[in-house]
Symmetry: C2
């Protein structure tokens, strides 16, 4: 039977090869007599899995040696507290609000620091990113927080701002949860990047943090030990029992990414897939996407039918054709197609074919 | 090939039937066209998995309706901070120190409250539990923290103290990470219980919290939203993306436990397994366990050979016979056999057979 195409915004589709390998190794990993879930996290077997995952991720993303790679728990929402607990020193931080996620980050940070909104696209209903030159950065801010791909609103930064050129000495913090490993990151502009794994990397339950070493060691006293980046780094992410199975699956995805040709190859495919859907939406005369072309997300494409009354019929027909989880986020409405790394071009094509068919029937 | 017996203290052995089912459903759960890792946590499919897991756990453990069941992230070490952030109100809390885990809990709580040691077995090298009548409880303490099974030292509470009878109005908090679901809990004596899943319930990465409703709603302002029990409860553990796959595996384990006859049946088996090993250790004239008989853990049995120089030979011979992960914790040394729910009686018997053989050869 053909596998359906799953457009979930996260947790999201994974490469079938990865799932097949995980199933095959479920009761016995590499002749060890144990499944990965059953291994002591301090044993030789799991340590090798963790180390390989980090090495592959570093290679894929070209992570410089002066960044630590941490495997943590709690997802992006936990990082919204953990970042200010570690980086703000109780002072100030700037937030560029471009959608739901950066909004949540700003709100949570207020518990720990003076959290300024340096810019917001609220007035544009989160459809365009304010030009960096217009951001009102606080000279005293310890860091500037961006969500570089807004999963709900479908807004993506196409490049990272150069804070130094904007006159700021702050560290740039990026929440790249929903587009990590889908395009390169310019590390020279970044202080810290975090990403929940459940979009492009693996199952929910593991959060990857990349942190420049000079930012370690300044956690507030109220920061729990397990969320103090320095403590986590000093313990190779093993202070507490890490989410071992999620790290293992992430590692299998990293190996799959390498077999696909790495991040540059994935980026090219992601551009092609997104272009296919946006081009059709823009020329259809039926569907619409409201995000400014300069900052449309390659990963998450919200789109609307001419009449919301047709939404249920659209979703039902999609499901019949094996196109799953296309319903838009409740705060935006309409539809949303997520085209993460594991979504093949054929999936984007099948979606466009169905959209065309639906428009012809109802248009 | 016969599957080895895996005595890891955690992450730990899981029932083969559970792993087989997980492998079979890896690419397609119940005809949905998606694996469990790939499902939106808010979709109908995953919601049904979560709800069933909670219902089964409530039934198995006879959890009263006025307790919330939360699925969280961060493990026991995170709870060491999360509990005082939620329950202490910045006042005082009492700790009964019986081993490494309660010691860590006490240390971490100091960040958030006045953390008293009400009793400690430090002078006895964590081999006996101080009698509750001797505990120096603080009349102002918001809660009293125990670790009811010390995984490292092999010390287990055989019953829960009645704090009211000891003159305390505090809520009893129990860290039952390493013996949850292996014996009943007397909920009338408990305010909050937490457990990392990776011993008796499933993979690492999900922590289960049972909290009496009247204890909700008093989190300190520094408590991250994702760790505020009331916020988590109000959102059915879905404020952030939960560790969906870990919850699914936990649910499969709960169904397996029901098929085994539930907690009462498991307790009986656990008593039998532990008795088999302790009886042999005590009568062997070769091995020794140093924990007082009144509080020996059914789950984690540390034992020592007469000479540490034989440890490597013991471990190598064990591995040859398919007896894995018996090395003791570095802070205690020697050996440790963990006999969680998923360890069959045949595994405990195979261990004793090997221990007898080894003693005969080296004794």
């Amino acid at each position: 039977m053909k596998r359906p195409y799953n457009f979930s915004a996260g947790p999201a589709t994974l490469p079938p090869e990865v799932l097949e390998q995980a199933a095959a190794e479920m009761l016995d990993w590499h002749g060890s007599g144990m499944g990965v879930m059953e291994m002591s996290h301090r044993g030789r077997e799991f340590t090798s899995i963790r180390d390989q995952a980090e090495a592959d991720l570093r290679e894929l993303m070209a992570v410089p040696a002066h960044f630590k790679v941490l495997f943590m728990q709690g997802g992006g929402l936990a990082q919204n507290a953990i970042v200010p607990m570690n980086l703000s020193r109780g002072g100030a931080a700037d937030f560029v609000v471009t959608g739901s996620w950066s909004q949540k980050s700003h709100k949570e940070a207020k518990r720990y620091c003076t959290a300024h909104v340096a810019a917001s696209n609220d007035a544009d209903r989160h459809t365009r990113i304010p030009a960096p030159e217009s951001w009102k950065l606080d000279a005293k801010a310890a860091y500037v927080h961006l969500c570089t791909n807004e999963t709900i609103h479908g807004v993506e930064f196409q490049s990272l701002p150069d804070l130094k050129a904007l006159g700021s000495d702050a560290a740039l913090v990026i929440d790249c949860s929903s587009h990590i490993a889908t395009r390169p990151i310019d590390w020279s502009r970044v202080g810290l990047a975090f990403a929940g794994a459940q979009k492009n990397i693996g199952p929910s339950g593991v959060t990857i943090v990349f942190v420049r070493e000079d930012l370690l060691g300044h956690a507030l006293p109220v920061c729990p030990s397990v969320f103090d980046y320095k403590v986590v780094a000093d313990n190779d992410s093993m202070l507490n029992t890490p989410p071992t199975y999620a790290i293992y699956i992430a590692g299998l995805v990293f190996q799959w990414l390498k077999r696909q040709g790495g991040i540059a190859a994935m980026e090219q495919r992601n551009v092609t897939k997104a272009q296919l859907v946006y081009d059709y939406v823009d020329t259809s005369g039926y569907y619409r996407n409201e995000v400014d072309k300069s900052c449309r997300s390659r990963m998450n494409i919200p789109f609307f039918l001419p009449d919301d009354k047709l939404n249920d019929a659209f979703l039902a027909g999609a499901k019949e054709r094996g196109l799953l989880q296309l319903k838009g986020h409740k705060s935006v409405g309409g539809m949303r197609a997520s085209l993460y790394n594991a979504m093949p071009l054929a999936g984007a094509q099948a979606l466009v074919d169905y959209m065309r068919e639906f428009a012809a029937r109802h248009g």
